[in-house]
Amino acid sequence: MIYIFKELRRHKWRTIFSVTGYALATVFILLILSVADANKNDSYGVLQSTGTHFIVYIPTEANLCTSNIANGSVFAEGVKTMMLDHDMVRTIRNVEGVKDAAACLQYKMFDGVFQSEVSIAGIDTSSLATRTNVLAPAHVISGRYFSGRPEELLAEESFAAAHDLSPGDTLKIFGGKMIVAGIVNSGIRPVKADFYAPISLVRTILKDRLLCNAPNFDMNIILVEVADARVQDDVITRIRNMMYKFAVSTYNCYQPANRVMSIIDRSSIGLTGLIFLFLVIFSAKTQLTALMERFREIGILKSLGWSDSSLAIHVFLVSLIQSVAGVTAGVLLAFGLIEFLGHLDNPVFSSYSFRLRFGTIPLIYALSLIGAVAAGLYPAIRIFRTKAGDIIRNHM
């Protein structure tokens, strides 16, 4: 062992070049992986939540929320629906892959003032599933979002424009006086209504003001948010299996997101594989070059009676020590560089997010060691198969 370290020390520059080569390759690989990984995570952040929402209801032919005062019904996507018990929300929240579920109560009736059918969606304003399926505070285009005051409504922009509504207007509608707190444009959503209100208010409207006759006033739609676009199909299947009557309505944009993520995954695996292959080849090449340079010395030692096995071990250890030292230096350097670049206020680097993936470090060690062993194989075989005199003669 003492000769191995002596060897490394004596061939100082060769050792330094070799270790530096490993270190630079490691830094390069870790930087690329860091950028690729961070970008993948960022892309995933967007794609994972693309289209990951849907609604569940039970369509029916009959009107299950009748009233002598109002000619209306609970509905979803243009069809009448059954009323659902609130326990169903808890059940669906527990389905594997579901991130959030919320209750929604949607009702429409003919209104004499507007001389048209007017719909209202009662929503749980604190729920994520509501924000993705119905409405979010960011969708307010004028006025304000629900402030907790009683009798507040939000009007959908198209309806407000058609009927010249503005924030602050007071309307006599749904059996009471309501205030338009804000105008919203929620875009294309599974649940669209002319007005939105907290679900408790809509329940009060149906139960106490319109005196509807219904099994309960909990909800008629369950809003669901899925954890990841890639599991959405599975979640839908699980929910359908809970009750065959369930209608599930989803936008299919989660499917392209799912496909894009699969493509990113494959590219990422391919890129990582190529980078690691480069590391193995690079380490093998670096070591092989260094070993071949000192092959004459190996021949001399062999002529002095050093056994082939001890020389082969010598070759492997020199190779392994250099690779471990190089990768260690490279990891430390990469860590420092990633920290530095991550905090650098530079327009070129600020567009990248650098994150060191610690899980790859053992893999880099393992692969560089494989490279080092691979590099040692050829010289080791030559040591065993070539006579000392031939080695000396061929490496003058």
Partner: protein
């Protein structure tokens, strides 16, 4: 069991040139007794170094065989050949073959290291040789910092210190002054006489024939006189 320490039987060695086969040793057969001092003479390119390397098992013959104490050297496995080179055969190379990044003491040390000697034992063995050859003050210099003659002395020390029973010396005095050359030859002669060491000394220069028990002359790879 014969009485010969070394025997070469119909030994041939050919090297592949760019387009031709170069015959370095041609049908050499010779017998060398234990404790014999052989002067192997011939011009440059006569095949002396190749013959030395063949006898030491450093290269394989194209045909024929070399035996040492009845063992066929060119059929020994790697381990046995290493043992032979470590314990019984010492070779002084024409080009010295010193390790360029090791100082001259370490060059001696690595020759003894495989025997498992301690640093103290190695030092005890090495110091007298360095003193005898006037290299005591230079032990920690690199080979390139020594003159050619001094390097040759180190190569000789590296062989002698291992006390082999066979010394194959390829031009061991070519680069050193007459006085030191005389001392080396004298030392080898004494080893022959006192310790029954077999010596084959290849030279194309002027070495007194009287130092040897026998002279073998080579020309164009052939032994023409023995």
């Amino acid at each position: 069991m014969n009485n010969y320490k070394i025997e070469c039987i119909s030994l041939n060695k050919q090297y592949k040139g760019r387009n031709v086969l170069i015959t370095a040793v041609r049908d050499v057969s010779l017998k060398i007794e234990k404790g014999e001092f052989i002067l192997l003479k011939g011009r440059s390119g006569a095949g002396k170094s190749t013959l030395i390397n063949l006898i030491g098992g450093l290269i394989a013959p194209t045909s024929g065989k070399v035996t040492i104490d009845g063992f066929i050297v060119n059929q020994l496995n790697n381990k046995s050949l290493s043992n032979l080179l470590l314990n019984r055969v010492g070779i002084v190379f024409q080009g010295f073959n010193l390790l360029p990044t090791y100082d001259i003491y370490e060059n001696i040390e690595v020759a003894l290291a495989p025997r498992g000697l301690s640093k103290r034992e190695i030092k005890k063995l090495a110091i007298p040789y360095f003193e005898r050859f006037g290299l005591s003050e230079m032990m920690h210099l690199l080979p390139e910092e020594l003159s050619t003659g001094q390097q040759q002395k180190v190569a000789v020390i590296r062989t002698l210190i291992r006390q082999p029973s066979i010394i194959l010396a390829d031009e061991p005095t070519a680069s050193i002054d007459d006085i030191t050359a005389g001392e080396i030859l004298e030392l080898m002669r004494n080893l022959c006489n006192e310790q029954n060491v077999t010596i084959i000394l290849a030279t194309h220069g002027i070495v007194p024939e009287t130092i040897a028990d026998r002279m073998i002359v080579m020309e164009n790879g052939k032994v023409i006189n023995q």
